[in-house]
Structures are given as structure tokens and as C-alpha cells.
Symmetry: C2
């Protein structure tokens, strides 16, 4: 089961400052906030399902599913036995820090050490709004084409990790994997890139191992004891 | 060859009124404005290439390629021998009526009877801004999933036509075609739906025949003589 929240627009004028406040609060409470962004249909929900399967025994996960409407994704994720909340944005094309906070408080910061935000499916606007996350992940799927980092610069600049998804259908599309990686690194030379197939689970282990080690680093860096 | 224009943000507060003004001007000048919207990577540019191949002998086509950055698409389209303009939105996630007007004036209303706007790849924001178009087309590709009309309600409400693209890869995805159509018609019972494959050209003829007949109706309805 999951709850549906109609998130309210932020009262804070400066989202960047507010995001920093939320980031500090998350550090204090030991909650690693993972912000997952992509185009519609890139496989965010399936990737999260696989990630949860891998990690639910090693950490307490809470998931926030942001959508303009519908609860299709929350329904899917809640079946994986983690606390799930559906955030309805009321037409808004992104989440900001305060909207994220409303979801986190509903999850309960005390109960969670990995909070995952599935942002609205949109390669433009979510990149413009810092959610207060510890880590930004972008998913880019093979059918979308290898030129996307050229066309949507900010998304690939702000993300720490890019998961290239739907690797199983690579043979059926004109997609140049090396060119795609080159385009990603052109936008962000520090981006970490994983090739995955959320459908059959390929590459998920490597991504999850890396995520766990990143969370450990984060805990050590900020002296998080939880 | 094509020109790159950095479009300026609209000075008009009421985009709906401004869109109506632009629509009236287009009728007067006999320019049928087609607004093409979709997620990133759904195949807008390939679909337009195929459409231009079919129609360039029967009407004067001008194309506006809207992107946040890059001129990948304008480069592609200009090879088809039609007047092409690249509109850079400077980070903006959509085009409004005045931005569209800047592009149309650059194309020259006198020279064109079918003006095609390839909107920014985004299933959310472009649906919120009337561009002054005579016809709105949404492209939904098979890899994105059949649930998209449920998650992105406004896009499917405002579009007159939905082109279901990448039909060639249907066997490789969990995509229920009938369910997709049901979801589209749930959002917009009047939507016209075509199944196409822009890559191999399947279904393009039917879509173009329909478009031509729709343009004729429009000319008759508004007494356009051009």
C-alpha cells in the first residue's frame, strides 16, 4: 500500500538555499537522498525495482514516486516491500526541494537511510531544480538516441551518474555507444557511467555495488552514524 | 543551410490571447502551422524527414527546429531541401506563441503554406503553451510504454493526432497497442491515431494523406486562397 500526496508549491523563493537546508537536514538524520531523472519511458521504475531488490536487505529504503497524475509507478514499487509514496505535482513538470521535503517527511526521516526520488519524466525542467539530493542519477535509454547529451545539456551537467538502459535492444537501434559516452563526458567529465538492462537485470549489480560504496563514503565524509 | 535564432522570451503576459492572434495571422497569410511534440528521442526529426519527402512536391514547407542547444536536427532536416531554421530556446523547456512567431517571421509567411514546428522534446511543458498552431501532433514511441497517456494527461488532451512510432520494435517491448489506444482516447476521445515507423516509412503515407486532407478542410473553412 502507498499514500498519495498532492504536493504544494514551494513558499521559498530561493530553491538553491532551500535545497542546501534540506541536504544538511538529510546529513543530520543520515538519509541519503537519491534523485532519479530521465525522459518519460526510459525505465526509471523498472531500474528502481531492480535496485530495491538488490539493496533492501542492506538498507532501509523509502521511495517517492513523482507524477503529474496516476499512481501506476507507486503501485509497481510498493510491491517490492518498501515504503512508497506517490507525489502528485498537480501539473508541475519537476520537483523542487520543498516538494521533496514534503515527501521525505511523509516517509519519515527516522525510518529510512536511502530515500529514492523518482522525479517527473522530463529531461529539461527537473535538471533546473536542486532537490537537496546527495546524488543525481540520469537514465538514458538506447531507443532515445546517443545525441541526447548534446540536446539536453543541463541534465547531463548536473547528474553524477548516467545509467544507459535497455542495452538488450541495442542491436535494433542506430545507437553508437562510444559516441554516447563521449557526449555524456563532454557535458560532464566526472560522470560515472553504467550500462544496464533493467528488464533482465544486467549491470544492476555493478551499479548497486557502486551506490553502496558511494553511500559509505558519504557517511564517512559527514560522520553519519545511522 | 539553416539559420540559428536565439529566441527571446515573450513580452506578452497572456500567451493564450497571443496564440489566438498568431493563429488569425496564419489564417490570413494561408500558413498552416503544425506543432509536433513528444518526449526526447521519440522520433520527431525522422518522422518530419519522412513527412517532408511525401509533401514537399505538393506544398511549400518551412521547418522550425526548437532545441535548448545544438543544431543536430536542423542539420538533418535542411538536407531535405526545405527552408529550415534552428530556434535556440536558451534553456526554456517549451515554445510559446511569441517564440513561434519569431521563427515564422524568419521563415517568411509569404513563402510557406505548411510551417512545421518541432517543439522541445518534453512531454510536459510544451502542452501548457499554445503556439498558435492549426494542428497539434504528439508522437509516442513504442519503447516509452503504453501508459504514457495516463502519466502525461495534458499532452494527450491537447493533441489532435497521435503518431505511434517505432512500430518495427513492437516485438521487443512489453507494449500493449490496444491498451495504448484506449489510454489515448481516454484522455482525448477525438484524437486521430496512426501507427507509423518513421525509420522504414510504414504508415507515413496514410498520415500524410490525412494531413493533406486536413489542410484542405482548413483552407476551405477559413477561405484561405493561397
Amino acid at each position: 500500500m502507498y499514500k498519495i500526496i498532492e504536493v504544494k508549491q514551494s513558499v521559498f523563493e530561493d530553491n538553491n538555499k532551500d535545497a542546501q537546508r534540506l541536504r544538511d537536514e538529510c546529513k543530520e538524520k543520515g538519509v541519503f537522498l537519491l534523485n532519479v531523472m530521465s525522459s518519460p519511458g526510459s525505465g526509471k521504475t523498472t531500474t528502481l525495482s531492480r535496485t530495491i531488490e538488490q539493496l533492501k536487505e542492506v538498507c532501509h529504503i523509502g521511495v517517492m514516486e513523482a507524477d503529474i497524475d496516476s499512481d501506476v509507478d507507486a503501485k509497481t514499487i510498493s510491491q517490492y516491500g518498501v515504503k512508497t509514496i506517490q507525489l502528485h505535482t498537480g501539473g508541475m513538470c519537476h520537483l523542487d526541494a520543498d516538494m521533496t521535503r514534503q515527501g521525505l517527511y511523509e516517509l519519515g526521516l527516522e525510518n529510512v537511510d536511502l530515500a529514492i526520488l523518482e522525479n517527473v519524466g522530463n529531461l529539461v525542467c527537473p535538471a533546473e531544480f536542486d532537490t537537496g539530493s546527495a546524488l543525481n542519477v540520469a537514465i538514458l535509454s538506447i531507443p532515445e538516441g546517443d545525441d541526447k547529451p548534446l540536446k539536453y545539456p543541463l541534465m547531463f551537467q548536473v547528474c553524477d551518474v548516467v545509467l544507459i538502459n535497455k542495452m538488450d535492444v541495442l542491436p535494433y537501434f542506430d545507437f553508437d555507444l562510444e559516441n554516447c559516452k563521449k557526449n555524456i563526458l563532454y557535458r560532464n567529465p566526472n560522470a560515472k557511467i553504467f550500462e544496464i538492462c533493467a528488464k533482465d537485470g544486467k549491470g544492476i549489480q555493478e551499479w548497486c555495488d557502486w551506490l553502496i560504496s558511494r553511500m559509505k563514503e558519504w557517511k564517512d565524509e559527514y560522520g553519519v552514524s545511522k
